[in-house]
């Protein structure tokens, strides 16, 4: 396939910054936090060198970053921000506000553990903490996926059936600071792909259908007070938008495949055909796990993996379709939900299979918290464990910690 564009050596952060440069959003409002700092530094450089005309707001906190994005998006501008860990936690209330106000903001999350104790390394506790906020959540396996997500996110967010903000996540340090080959598209292709931002019509208080944007010619009020008579209905609208997002993510991923040669969807099965045991997970660890699966397959073991790309909206039906023939599923979680039976991904997978006629054995493996490394041999251990479970025919310990010193 004759695909244009150059291959650049970029770290994950640099890849995101480069994609954003090509998108050239109207406003970037961001606050630095390890390991996202390279993104905002690169973008600042592009602006300072006049390479892009983006308005860069060096906000004084992440809460203000998302607030500024809300203001900018409401007035019709394309707004981008990036954060991690405590920064995402700080903007927690504004995440809900951005989603409820149906503003198509795009944000990069460079996954990092939450305090305390303060830790700058990778785990998914930050973005998992936002899973109920109404944002679309996409997890990236490598810098290439991060670059591609940074472009697709706009088309997904701004789709008239969706109009929800999108966060795409890349693992802190593992991806953000590691150099990889990234196939980039030409600038024009990116601009053509995302096009211009369009506005749906809403009924305003003047009794007319006007564009959903703050415009003195057609004034609208955004962010009113809801009493118990309307709040529920407003939330139901968001549920519908999330439902619609599933198809849009697939459609946009297919369109993107046409111009880049890389097609994306809600999830990515890997060597699941005739797999008897499989692992499911998010992010860069799935990249490592693919290598393990290859090795085991060479040895004749019937193993496979399912990488979840879109965590919100969660692809329940697609997960069942991919895993229905698998006997034992090991769900890998790089975050905890203290007090729950298992990690967030485990709870989703388990819930997906509840209504299915055959319930595979599902086991949860929490790993990698605070940047604890997950090398291939530990992933191998998980596959060994899954096979033991298959032999036993039951799961004795629902939640195991991999890589923890007892």
């Amino acid at each position: 396939m004759g695909v244009r564009g150059k291959v650049l050596g970029l770290t994950g952060d640099e890849a995101v910054a480069y994609a954003i440069k090509q998108v050239e959003p109207d406003v970037v409002a961001a606050y630095p936090i390890t390991p996202q700092t390279i993104i905002v530094e690169r973008i600042s450089e592009y602006v300072a060198n006049g390479e892009i005309k983006t308005e860069y707001i060096a906000v004084e906190s992440e809460h203000s970053a998302m607030s500024a994005c809300i203001g900018a998006a409401a007035v019709g501008a394309r707004a981008f921000t990036a954060t991690a860990s405590a920064g995402l936690a700080f903007m927690w209330e504004t995440l809900y506000i951005a989603a409820s106000c149906r503003l198509p903001i795009v944000m990069a999350i460079v996954n990092r553990a939450l305090s305390a104790p303060i830790n700058i390394h990778c785990d998914h506790s930050d973005s998992m903490g936002a899973r109920d906020s109404g944002w679309i959540q996409i997890y990236c396996e490598n810098s290439q996926e991060a670059y591609d997500a940074a472009i697709q996110a706009w088309k997904i967010a701004e789709h008239p059936d969706v109009l929800l903000p999108v966060m795409f996540c890349l693992d802190g340090f593992v991806l953000s600071h590691t150099l990889e080959n990234v196939h980039t598209l030409p600038d024009e292709d990116v601009k053509e792909f995302i096009g211009e931002r369009k506005f749906v019509k809403v009924r305003s208080h003047e009794g007319r259908e006007v564009p959903f944007v703050l415009d003195p010619e057609n004034p609208i009020t955004i962010g009113p007070l809801d009493l118990y008579d309307f709040y529920f209905e407003h939330k139901r609208q968001q549920v519908e938008a999330m439902k619609n997002a599933k198809k849009v993510i697939v459609d946009v991923g297919r369109e993107y495949g046409k111009i880049s040669g890389r097609e994306y969807g809600l999830l990515e099965p890997y060597k699941l055909e005739s797999a008897e045991v499989a692992i499911v997970g998010l992010g860069s660890t799935m990249g490592t796990a693919k290598v393990v699966v290859d090795k085991l397959r060479e040895k004749g073991r019937k193993v496979g993996l399912l990488k979840i790309r879109a965590f919100r909206p969660f692809p329940y039906e697609e997960v069942i379709k991919e895993l229905e023939h698998v006997e034992v599923i090991g769900v890998l979680d790089r975050s905890l939900s203290f007090g729950a039976q298992g990690g967030p991904l485990f709870l989703e997978i388990r819930s997906a299979f509840y209504d299915f006629e055959r319930r595979p054995l599902i086991s949860n493996y929490v790993y990698g918290l605070g940047g604890r490394d997950m090398p291939p041999d530990l992933i191998m251990q998980i596959f060994d464990d899954l096979e033991k479970i298959k032999e036993k025919g039951r799961v004795d310990v629902l939640l195991k910690f991999i890589g923890l010193r007892e």
Binding site: S100, C101, R102, L103, L163, V200, V202, R203, S204, H205, E206, G207, F212, I220, T221, I222, G223, P224, D226, D229, F230, F232, E233, H234, R236, Q237, E240, A241
Partner: protein
């Protein structure tokens, strides 16, 4: 409320408000109403500026008119009128 409220499909997205506040008549909050004595009024328009509701309108003729649909009866206008042209009357 006897009238059925709209469902989630029938209201604008994003919480956009779709009715002007003028449809909500706050005039029934009143216990006292201000009444204008046109002869005493010197058209300083302070009442127009001091009214929290904007219920005191300045007409094209230059006259003052009180919109009792919205007047909440706070009586600031009565208290402030330099000519005593406004009087408070119980509803």
């Amino acid at each position: 409320m006897t009238e059925r409220l709209p469902g989630w499909r029938d209201i604008p997205i994003g919480g956009v408000a779709f009715k002007p506040s003028e449809e909500y008549k706050t005039g029934d909050w009143r216990v006292f109403r201000p009444v204008l004595n046109k002869e005493k009024c010197n058209r300083c328009y302070l009442c127009h500026f001091y009214c929290p509701e904007g219920a005191i309108k300045v007409l094209d003729t230059g006259d003052i008119e009180i919109d009792y649909d919205y007047c909440k009866g706070c009586l600031i206008c009565v208290n402030e009128c330099p000519r005593g042209a406004l009087e408070s009357v119980q509803e």
